[in-house]
């Protein structure tokens, strides 16, 4: 009986998928992948690059191995790796991913000189006083008043938003954009229920909270229901 194949190529409606078996050794896999792609050389004649997905099943690939597989496939054919899918992530990666997608709830007043930093979204139940700073990798939602500095999307997310029940910040920062309060205190209108986001001109805009519903539909995490 012929040995079970470690590398299978399948065409699906999403494009070509390379299934790499997860029960053989990595070296074996590499060898077979190399052979298989070389053997089929003649059948492919198109010039343009074809994106493929690679499914490695329950095998964990570190960054170097991922790069190696990608290079291997790229060299042999007009194929370019779109994505490598693996069911396995390390604990560290999982924690990081979780932290970045988590809403951290904090019930505290951030006072002058204090800095609160979270990797994901921040839900602050309390105020940010002048001189206080809140920093988040994702969005910042402040239930109280924002009088200090808020920095959302600190790792480069320019879709991040800042909302506050009372918006009187000394500075707003989203990703690499900075906006500060006018030097002269303007008319004492109450700035209630407002949000800040980066618009198409790469400027921080402050507007009614409700505009986010259309501008940032991805804030919705609610699934199902009516």
């Amino acid at each position: 009986m012929k040995k079970r194949q470690n590398v299978t190529i399948k065409g699906t409606k999403d494009g070509i998928v390379l299934h790499l078996d997860d029960s053989c050794s990595y070296e074996e896999l590499k060898k077979e992948l190399d052979e298989k792609l070389s053997a089929n050389q003649s059948t492919h004649t198109e010039r343009h690059l074809t994106p493929v997905k690679v499914d490695v099943g329950n095998r964990y690939l570190n960054d170097a191995q991922r790069e190696e597989i990608k290079n291997l496939i790229r060299q042999k054919k007009n194929l370019v790796v779109d994505d490598i899918e693996s069911y396995v992530v390390t604990r560290e990666e999982a924690d990081k991913l979780k932290a970045e997608n988590e809403v951290v709830t904090v019930a505290r007043i951030i006072r002058s000189g204090q800095v609160l930093e979270v990797p994901g979204d921040l839900l602050l139940i309390g105020d940010v006083n002048p001189g206080g700073t809140v920093i988040a990798g994702g969005n910042i939602f402040i239930m109280g008043s924002l009088k200090g500095i808020a920095h959302a999307g600190v790792f480069g997310n320019d879709q991040a938003v800042i909302t506050a029940s009372s918006m009187q910040p000394s500075q707003l920062r989203i990703h690499d954009c900075i906006n500060r309060a006018p030097d002269k205190a303007q008319n004492k209108e109450k700035r209630e229920m407002e949000c800040a986001y980066i618009d198409d001109n790469h400027q921080i805009i402050i507007d009614r909270l409700q505009v986010l519903i259309n501008l940032r539909p991805n804030l919705n995490r609610f699934e199902g229901g009516h």
Binding site: I109, R111, S112, G113, Q114, D127, N129, G131, G132
Partner: protein
Amino acid sequence: MGEAIVITSGKGGVGKTTTSANIGTALALQGKKVCLVDTDIGLRNLDVVMGLENRIIYDLVDVVEGRCKIHQALVKDKRFEDLLYLLPAAQTVDKSAVKPEQMHKLINELKQDYDYIIIDCPAGIEQGFQNAIAGADRAIVVTTPEVSAVRDADRIIGLLEKANTIESPKLVINRIRNHMMKSGDMLDVDEITAHLSIELIGIVADDEEVIKASNHGEPIALNPNSKASIAYRNIARRILGESIPLQPLEDTNKSVFGKIKKFFGVR
């Protein structure tokens, strides 16, 4: 076992020393055994305000370094029968002469013999501040109705909360000028309290009598006829757990009083 209360503010010149002297005096008037501790080493002046400067023989640093016993360094206030004492700060060295652990030990020893230890904290957030709060159980934050003082008070409250050996600090708003507050040129009491969101324990009007009394080495709290004196006495009674409404700043002015009453009504 007594309680140690640190009087602090962050910013200088808002009236920490005056507040310490008067709260201490007012507590002694209530019959409590009080020890005032000046931790502003190098820039002492609680002794001057209390009028006890001439009697200092040993100081806090002498005690900490073992050159004398605690009771030798304590200066007794003759105006009170064995109720009010002062542990003066040293004047010749600076704040680094004492470590927080040493302060903690010292305050704990004093707590055996006194009902209340009032610790006068230096301005700033450096070692002197760390020393002052080391042994404290409670804290009173003094501020004035100025943006800079309120900002520093906010910072100090943050640091006190971080220390978390101290129960939630209480607020004293000092040097209130009624007409300015009324005209909106000064932050008003509600605004400050809402901003700092800690419990208000007293308000003291700006009173020339306070300065006069300090310069004579007699805390204003000894004078029963002054508004400021009554304010300090009320603070002392609130420390003792009595529930006393805030005094009106001026009888002629109903609006601020009304506001304050409203504020407490809402609370």
